[in-house]
């Protein structure tokens, strides 16, 4: 059993009282794969290092299992950590690197031999056992680092951007291997990354952080479809969600609420109307958010159409991203079939799936919810 409980965690640096982590509260469930994601400097690594015991806690409490670990040294926390630069001991062979933790714990020799060989088989690094880390490729080093972590059978696994030093292809491969590893080991994983793709694909739950504050904690599906604010909405998903500012006005004829920009007006769907009214945003400026895949070229899934001027197209292979000028600061990005090609400044008519549209408070960035 190794749930992790974090209560009112703070990390404050230096005399200027710069808070890197502010009032961090959460419970990480046993056997969960939890991902911390956020831009660099958001405090995700610091939080992880506080769980590991490598960083002092300014204020708050961390429990691993039922033990308060605030003052426990790292070695007594029953955790293992994989570092971004692998941190393999350059003076030791691969075998010794993996065995080092066991040796320090005075494990009998034959057990060390057995455990290291077992780990070697699982990670397919047996043939490199006698090599020094500097003669290994990045992917092999990564495996050794993982091996060093799993050989001790810890209750909690901490990973600090373990894939960011690998090339793109290897990263995808290692991603699936780590997921498999999590399934087979059945222990708690806490994973830090700045890559939203890693977060989406790997995590049971995702913690989105910004400036040391948790923005949202939820499953990847909820984070993607119902982000709690414009930061989360913009950070998760590629290409980014489109944001359009406009005013909510009542149509004098139909008596229905509409979203007005200086170029177009859109009728607001039923569920959104309730949220807008509840948050008293009628006659006020709000931010509309819509993902690029919820906009189409034909009147396919919606009758709601707007016009945009084609500026730029990015072919991604399976998709084409169109950048369109709709009279806002930011161009509207639309994800379409790669066969759709336009000439510059051509007027394109677009269909919006209004059921997927989200509204945010334009001042606080919070999503308007019922």
């Amino acid at each position: 059993m190794a749930k992790i409980l974090i209560n009112h965690l703070y990390k404050i640096y230096g005399k200027e009282k710069h808070a890197v982590v502010k009032d961090f509260n959460m419970e990480i469930k046993d056997k969960e794969f939890l991902v911390f994601v956020g831009p660099s400097g958001c405090g995700k690594s610091t939080t992880l290092r506080m769980i590991a015991g490598l960083e002092d806690i300014t204020d708050g409490e961390i429990y691993i299992g039922d033990t308060l670990v605030n003052n426990l040294p790292p070695k007594n926390r029953d955790i293992a950590m994989v570092f971004q630069n692998y941190a393999l001991y350059p003076n030791m062979s691969v075998f010794e690197n993996i065995a080092f933790g066991l040796r320090l714990r005075k494990t009998p020799k034959h057990e060390i031999e057995q455990s290291v060989k077992r780990v070697g088989r699982v990670l397919e690094i047996e043939q490199y056992f006698s090599r020094k880390p500097k003669f290994l490729s990045g992917g092999q080093r990564q495996r050794v680092a993982l091996g060093r972590a799993i050989v001790r059978n810890p209750e909690v696994f901490l990973m600090d951007e373990p894939l960011s030093n690998l090339d793109a292809k290897l990263r995808v491969q290692m991603r699936t291997e780590i997921i498999k590893l999590h399934k087979s080991l059945g222990v708690t994983f806490v994973y830090v990354t700045h890559d939203q793709v890693e977060a989406m694909t790997m995590g049971d739950r995702i913690v989105v952080m910004k400036d040391g504050v948790i923005q949202q904690v939820d499953t990847p599906e909820v984070i993607y479809s119902k982000p709690c604010n414009t930061f989360v909405a913009g950070f998760i998903g590629s290409p980014q969600m489109n944001f359009v500012k406009g005013r909510i006005l009542e149509n004098s004829k139909t008596k229905k609420l509409e979203f007005h920009t200086n170029r177009f007006a859109l009728e607001i769907p039923e569920n959104a109307v309730r949220a807008v009214i509840k948050n008293k945003q009628v006659n006020r400026v709000v931010t509309l958010g819509i993902r690029p895949e919820n906009i189409g070229l034909e009147v396919l899934f919606s009758e709601v159409t707007i016009k945009g001027i084609y500026k730029l197209g990015e072919l991604m292979g399976a998709d084409r991203y169109l950048h369109l000028d709709i009279g806002e600061e930011q161009p509207l990005v639309v994800r379409v079939n790669p066969s759709a090609a336009f000439s510059p400044d051509e007027v394109v008519s677009l269909a919006l799936d209004m059921s997927k549209v989200l509204f945010f408070n334009s001042e606080t960035g919070e999503r308007l919810i019922e």
């Binding site: 590991a52 015991g53 490598l54 040294p73 790292p74 070695k75 955790i79 293992a80 950590m81 570092f83 971004q84 630069n85 941190a87 393999l88 001991y89 350059p90 003076n91 030791m92 080092f100 933790g101 320090l104 714990r105 500097k134 060093r148 001790r152 030093n165």
Partner: protein, 303 residues
Amino acid sequence: MKKIIKLLKLLKLPVMDGFQILITIQLVIFSVFMLLPIVYIFNHALKPYSELFIYPPNIFVRNPNSQNFNELFLVAASSAIPITRYLFNSVFISVGSVVGITFVSILCAYPISKHKFPGHKIVFSIIILTLMFAPEAVQIPRYLVVSKLGIMNTYFGHFLPLLAMPVSVFLMKQFIDQIPDELIQAAYLDGAKEFSVFLYIIVPNCMPAVATVAILAFQASWSNIETSTLFMQDDEMKNFAYFLSTLTNNLTNNVARQGAAAAAALIMFIPNLFIFLFFQGKMITTMAHSGIKGSEKSGKKSE
């Protein structure tokens, strides 16, 4: 030009442009110049008396013979204390100092580099500051310390004044700075205590610096006559370097025993040469590390 390139290819040398060739030639000339004293020591030791005092001096000996060595052995044989005793003292003191200085330096450098305790910068600055004192300035205080400790005429009297070596602490600290913090943290997570980290991670990873410090320590103690002159009254406690210095010192006639001195200079020099040749590769690593810190560190991270 084409002929030169052909020649370079024939000799399996890297092909260079004109400027690089110029620089290379210049460097070769410099290195030959740097080699001169060593060549001179070897030749000087083999010169007969007739050649020793020629002006201008010859670099290369014309009639090499072993006369100087014979003279040295004669002097040595006639001394009250057997020369082997001096040699034993020197070897014992040098080996002891090398081990002691290396150990003390690395023990001192590790916390300054990796455990940022309050005031670590001041401590390091003070250590560096001591480099500025001329040895003569500390002779009297050093004498007082040694005499108050009551270690006159003991081997401790030889070791102790050498033990604190700011240069080696500096080199060690700069080198340990290169070791990524993650390595130490990984060891903590693996269950290492402070001393295990030091022994299994820090020491093996700064072997180049250890080698450099060992060379410096050896040189400092092997040729050191200060401790023998000041702190040792008994002749059997003095070292080989001191014995050799007495060959020409305090003689009214400054021609006598010059041959023996030349042979002695060679004998003094040879251990230094071998130690340097043995450790030189590692020494160069250290010097490179302590100079360009930033680029080395980023290089390590990206690999």
